[in-house]
Amino acid sequence: MADEDVVLLDFWPSPFGMRVRIALAEKEIKYEYKEEDLRNKTDLLLKMNPIHKKIPVLIHNGKPVCESLVQVQYIDEIWPHKSPLLPTDPYQRAIARFWGDFVDKKIYGLESGKVWTTKGEEQEAAKKEFIECLKLLEGELGNKAYFGGENLGYVDVVLVPFYSWFYAYEKCGNFSIETECPKLIAWAKRCMEKDSVSKSLPDQDKIYDYVLHLKKVFGIE
């Protein structure tokens, strides 16, 4: 693997970027991390992701891969032998992809953002839906240690970055996710015992400070 050249263009609070960091760490791939200033995007970012101009961008031997779910699958396919993230059985893979898509649509989607960007009735509705979606995920987890079974899998990698944002959500929304979804929090803490996860996620306090900063910048109360 001596000729592997892996670069990750990223932004430290991005849960999408965290997914890629975790996947690369699970596979024990050495890479160069480059922090982007989203107000001042580098020429490299604009060249490697001209269509969306977004992070994360994974550059493997000079070729860019964009979109975090696409990147995680790519990493799993290029380095299949260490820590496989998707199962081998097509039906189990379909289940994993379904829940990965669900997390993207429902947990990372615009509606859940309303938990910290709105107030009053709108915020209450957003909180309710957010918790309902987390409970569905708890149902899918069941009694397994991880969504991937005995080890971290695709859905774990896709969802766990969001744990770093939970404290900010709780403070802004004035609620406790652990009270509503204790099994999910237990799962998240179990994931955090792994270096690949704990070293890829920023401190919850730092994310909360970042959210407060965003609220100021966008004039959100």
């Binding site: 269509i51 696409v70 990147q71 790519y74 097509p90 039906y91 893979r93 379909a94 379904f98 898509d101």
Partner: protein, 225 residues
């Protein structure tokens, strides 16, 4: 072989169409069940897709798979002949990128351009044209997005190449025109003319009044909101 394959779909749904086209490309026989999605969804549909309650649902030997893109990946991995995704992981990631682009940007914006209110239409239409330009660049001189033969990107792009073209006709719009986007236009013609595609597309004369009704409903709901 004892394979039991069923598709719960809706005749006019571009998402449902993807699942059917994929099975046809693989030569897999299936039973099609049309769901009354605007009226009364069947108990079976709600049992097989409790989370989203939508079509399409693929049922393979009693096991449900839902979400059209998840279904397409499942079909590709289960019936390995006539592959519609590239083998190389990098090329596969490129295909998946374009699929996401079509589903999240291109198709929704084109649909919005059809029914959005007068004051918003110009902005949305401009955005849609930008997306069409970008999508055209993915063809890069090839006959299909998949190369010489239909690939997964083509299957997903059918929502733009066929369903949106029908919508455009109703609205008197001509965004996907031969002068503005010659390669993309040619692709949509070549694609719709493939016998395997033709035999499974919902007929234009049935689709036109249906989409007309749907647009009217969207415009009504939007005006009330």
């Amino acid at each position: 072989m004892g394979e039991e394959v069923k598709v719960f779909g809706y005749w006019a749904s571009p998402y449902s169409y993807r699942a059917e086209l994929a099975l046809k490309l693989k030569g897999v026989s299936y039973e099609y069940i049309n769901e009354d999605i605007f009226g009364n969804k069947s108990d079976l549909l709600l049992k097989y897709n409790p989370v989203h309650k939508k079509v399409p649902v693929l049922l393979h030997n009693g096991k449900p798979i839902v979400e059209s893109l998840v279904i397409l990946e499942y079909i590709e991995e289960t019936w390995k002949h006539n592959p519609y995704l590239p083998q190389d992981p990098y090329d596969k990631s490129t295909a998946r990128f374009w699929i996401k682009f079509i589903d999240e940007k291109c198709f929704p914006t084109l649909w919005l351009a059809a029914w959005s209110a007068e004051n918003e239409r110009e902005k949305v239409t401009n955005e849609a044209c930008e997306y069409l330009k970008t999508l055209e660049s993915a063809l890069n001189g090839k006959k299909f997005f998949g190369g010489e033969t239909i690939g997964m990107v083509d299957i997903v792009a059918s929502s733009v190449g066929y369903f949106i073209r029908v919508t455009q006709e109703i609205m008197g719009q001509n965004l996907l025109s031969a002068d503005k986007f010659p390669q993309l236009f040619q692709w949509s013609e070549d694609f719709a003319n493939c016998s395997i595609v033709k035999e499974s597309l919902p007929p234009r004369d049935k689709l036109l009044p249906f989409v007309k009704g749907l647009i009217a409903k969207y415009q009504q709901d939007n005006a009330k909101a």
